[in-house]
Amino acid sequence: MAYRLWTTDSSCVTLALERTRAPARRSSFIVIEAKNLSKQYDRGVYALRDLSLSVGKGEFVFLTGPSGAGKSTFLRLLLVKERASEGQVLVNGHNLSELRRSEVQEYRRGVGFVFQDFKLIPTRTIFENVAFVSEVLGVAPTQQRRRAAQVLKWVGLQHRMNAYPRELSGGEQQRIAIARALMNDPPLVIADEPTGNLDPDLSLEIMNLLREVNAGGTTVLVATHDRELIRLVGRRSVTLDHGRIVEMS
């Protein structure tokens, strides 16, 4: 499987994506399916309430809403950092409420993640930050290097591979975080406020990058409160408020 993608500096590269996961457990069309999902914290506060949502394969969906709407809670459930109180959520055919610890590890290998604060390791070079993902999954060093070079080239930062995160701008750091998310060639990429720390121009640049990821067939779910950005990118959006879906457009 090969995707033709455009980098931000307009140089065209072909990225050979190696599908490492068996597709047998994946639903044909639905990647994320939440059914009557609720998340209740102590003192009876609901962060999510009776949420039902489907995201199809290859879709690009924005999850939006004000602070405290439940966007990050939903993403934490998708990353299995928390478990739902009621209802269920299926991702790539996995019922996340029933995953055992070893199954969580396997599930997470099929999900790329991007965070607002980049979460790059400051003591490692850019190359090491990206290759690290393959390293901890036990991939052979030659494959690690090849794949890391590919994704760094794709985000247009191969020339900074020996730099440390502190030497990069916010936009560059987020591009590295996206490169890292693509290391395992996941069928789903989840981004939590990926432009929250960036100015409007850089935000659009990052969104274009995620759009290119999506153009290669990867399902992308982005949580953001930036309505202007959603308008500019022009994709499906789901608005949450007080843990409930209040609008779909």
Partner: protein, 295 residues
Amino acid sequence: MRALDYALRHGWSAMRRSKVSTLCAVLAIALATSVLGLVLLVTFNADQVLIRWRTSAEFSVYLRDDATSEQRGVVESVLDQSGAVGNVEFVSKDQALVRFRREFADLASLASELDGNPFPASLEVRLLQVADTDGSGEVLLRRIATLPGVADVRYDRAWLARVGQAIETVRRLGFGLALLLAAAAAVTVASVVRLGMHARREEIEIMELVGASAGYVRGPFVAEGLLQGGLGALVALGAVLLAHRIGAVIWGSEVSALFDGLPLRFLPVSLCAALVLGGMAVGGLGGFIASRRIA
């Protein structure tokens, strides 16, 4: 193998990054291992002496002052015919006095003040090793004690058993103390590793989120503890070796006299290896405890 290589590389890097806290953990393990090493050094040497004494177990047959040469002949004859005796040496009253004056020079004047020679003549019997172990020595002892002209029979075996018990007590006390110190060292290592985990919490979070196995996530922390433990044990071995050398220089002749001519020996390679492995186990346990909540 990749997981092991990864764990060791990153465990070593973590140690180099936090030198001061690593030093604390290494010293804590070194202290525990030094105590154990010193106890082992003392008991190992004491065991060597005890083994030597046991293999040459002897008993002394004290003769009455009025014992006749015929009575002494009967005793010697019984000893010869028993088949349990390797060697018999007669020590006269005069020879016993000379020996006392030589071996206890400080008390020599005391003997001069007494009227006459208080020391009895005796037969010093060296048993064959088999007689010491199969019980025939004790049978012989009981028979000799009943012969005419014999005042008393002193068998070293009971005394050796008491010395053996004393060594065992010292060993157990030392092991107990070392165990307590090892527990404290494991807690120190766990605290140091936990500090490192706090500094690397984002790295751990990323590892968990990309689906790294528990071995990859926890491995570096267990390896860090193992390496700290190994280093601490090596430092301890160096300290015990230094103590051995100093002890040999300062008290060498006294120890040699006390230990029946044997020199003070250092721990054998197998015990040194066991100490290093023990240190690594304590450190690894600390790392394991610290990282058990992740992955």
